[in-house]
């Protein structure tokens, strides 16, 4: 019964994706091409990785608005390392980016836990604070494309198998790992428990401090991964532009994917579908030739529509449960 309910929610997303593809494909047959799949696949890895981190934070009944700034900080420091210490292997830069992301995420977590602050405000503050640090550490200078290692950039271009670029494989691996962690590990289950009932959590043997710190650290670390992949995808890092607005794209996708803003529920599959839906729309609109003026209207409408569909399904599922006498 529960399984059917959950499948209902994800099914709704799949339906919407298929609907978009069908409508756009009907209006612009060129859309139904393997090339389109590749474009969509390349448009989503960064948001997908960020979404995995944000999802864990949201399930724990928190929010992380600083992901974009963390992404930028990790990215620019790694970029500066590539530029000023060119003998260092690419892996070192990657490791530094992830560690820095984790550290900044940990700071978010500590502020939330130590001072019992609402995460929305803490991360609103760190959004600004970390962005300032990005400018500070980079002296407001961008890292030019010639300093980004070729190997890193080729991750967005070359592929080991079936023409799927490395960057997509990394994103898929992250999604898979998140699914395994959240759904099938004790800690993962504790995150859900914490989010659905924070008051009762300690009574159930959950170390609230540890779990909270964990989700924020992971969110930050994944933002760090996204930061490195940003350099790969776009070939340069700019302190003002990189990661700007990232957290909003991520949150929109995660919530469209069915993760509740009140914590305690949401699936990795749903989140992935949410990312794919918004990614498909973002690719479809230019291919349709939708004028730039109308694109925002569509984006807003899609978000609202997805929420209504999700709500409709949940109501329908709840009603089905009641009828079944659950």
């Amino acid at each position: 019964m529960i399984g059917a309910l959950l499948r209902g929610r994800e099914a709704g997303l799949v339906v919407m994706i298929l609907l978009v593809v069908a409508v756009v494909g009907g209006l612009a047959p060129r859309f139904l091409d393997w090339e389109t799949l590749r474009i969509v696949a390349l448009a989503v890895p960064l948001v997908l990785i960020g979404a995995m981190g944000q999802m864990m934070v949201l399930v724990a009944r928190h929010v992380d608005l600083s992901q974009g700034s963390i992404l930028a900080f990790s990215s620019i420091v790694a970029g500066m390392m590539f530029r000023d210490l060119p003998e260092l292997p690419v892996v070192a830069g990657v490791a530094v980016a992830i560690l820095l992301g984790a550290a900044l995420g940990l700071v978010n977590g500590l502020l939330v836990v130590l001072f019992r602050l609402p995460s929305i405000i803490v991360t609103l503050g760190t959004l600004s604070l970390y962005r300032g640090l990005v400018f500070l550490v980079s002296d407001a200078r961008q890292v030019d494309p010639q300093f980004i290692p070729r190997g890193l950039i080729s991750m967005s271009q070359t592929s080991p198998v079936l023409g799927i670029p490395w960057i997509v494989i990394v994103a898929a691996a992250v999604a898979l790992a998140t699914w395994a962690f959240l759904g099938h590990s004790r800690l993962g289950r504790q995150i859900y428990a914490l989010g659905s009932n924070p008051v009762a959590a300690p009574l159930r043997g959950i170390n609230v401090v540890r779990v909270t710190l964990l989700v924020f650290t992971l969110s930050g670390a994944l933002a760090g991964v996204a930061g490195i992949l940003y350099a790969s995808r776009f070939g340069y890092v700019n302190p003002g532009i990189t990661g700007l607005g990232f957290e909003f794209a991520v949150i929109a996708a995660v919530v469209v994917g069915g993760v509740s803003i009140n914590g305690g529920s949401g699936t990795v599959l749903g989140t992935v579908l949410g990312v794919l839906l918004l990614g498909t729309v973002s690719v479809a609109l230019p291919i349709l030739g939708v004028s730039a003026f109308w694109q925002d209207v569509f984006n807003g409408a899609v978000i609202i529509l997805a929420l209504l569909v999700d709500r409709g399904l949940r109501e329908g599922g709840a009603r089905a449960l009641r009828r079944a006498g659950a």
């Binding site: 090339e35 474009i39 400018f135 200078r141 030019d144 010639q146």
Partner: protein, 333 residues
Amino acid sequence: MLRRSLLAGLAAGALVAGAAVAQGDPVQIVYIPKNTGNPYFDSLVAGFEDACASLGCEFTQAAPATAEATSQIPFITAQIQRGVDVIAVSPNSPDALNQVLDRARAAGILVLMVNGDIVGSEAYRDAAILPVDFTRTGPGQVELLGSMIDYQGQIAILSATTDAPDQNTWIAAMVNALETDPKYANMELVATVYGDDEPQKSTTEAEALLQTYPDLRGIISPTTVGVAAAAQVLQSAGRADEVILTGLGTPNQMRPFIKDGTVEAFQLWSPYNQGWLAAHFAVGVRNGTIENVVGGTFEVPNLGTVTIGENNVINTQAELTTFTAENIDDYDF
């Protein structure tokens, strides 16, 4: 008689002393770029700084964090309060600044637009220093692309935001050149898309162009973020030979693409020279050695004779600079 000549002497002395004091007070110039962290403006600022080092003017810059339409208003207001002599701005909006510029000029401050003009609101500024004749930019880009695609085929434009004034000026001139000049009769503009100067959006729009127009022969992207994104897309897709890309970009941003052949040539101008010229002009006007009249001319070291054009627009150089594999290493900005 003695008293009269004494008075005259005193008056003359006072005048000279006064003028000497006026000349002695360094001209205070502030420059407000579009936003922080943009390497292009760093170059412009260097031009200002070097000029002020040699002229003795005091130079500061103040930049907002983001390039929103109204982000510069508080900065201009603050500079008026600080009592500077010259405010130079690279405007984020063609008209949002009008009211605050009025206040600046009412306070006796010289208002200059640098690198871009407030089209339609020229009455609100004293002069504009542009990098190049903006009416030549559009046709210059069309000509460059045309020369690389044998003047035939479908082309598209990847621009920044829909309401960016310089972009719209150049695009209008491009469209005009394509429609009226018989040389471009076989070139067809199939689409103009907007990347909002965001890397992700520019990339998606560029990819959509390739997808929607399989016969696309060329792309013009007259914005640094756009041309970099499009180059990245062509390089990833391996289609740089089929689709020729050109646009406006900085040498440092485009260097890898020139080196590996993804882009054959692109254009820009010298932001440094703009800053240099702007500083000289500003100091000259404040000191009275340059008169800000249409048709007037003045000398600038290293740049020669400069003419003040219609609408008090001063062009730093006549034509665009074209960057190719041969000359790209001569530049560092």
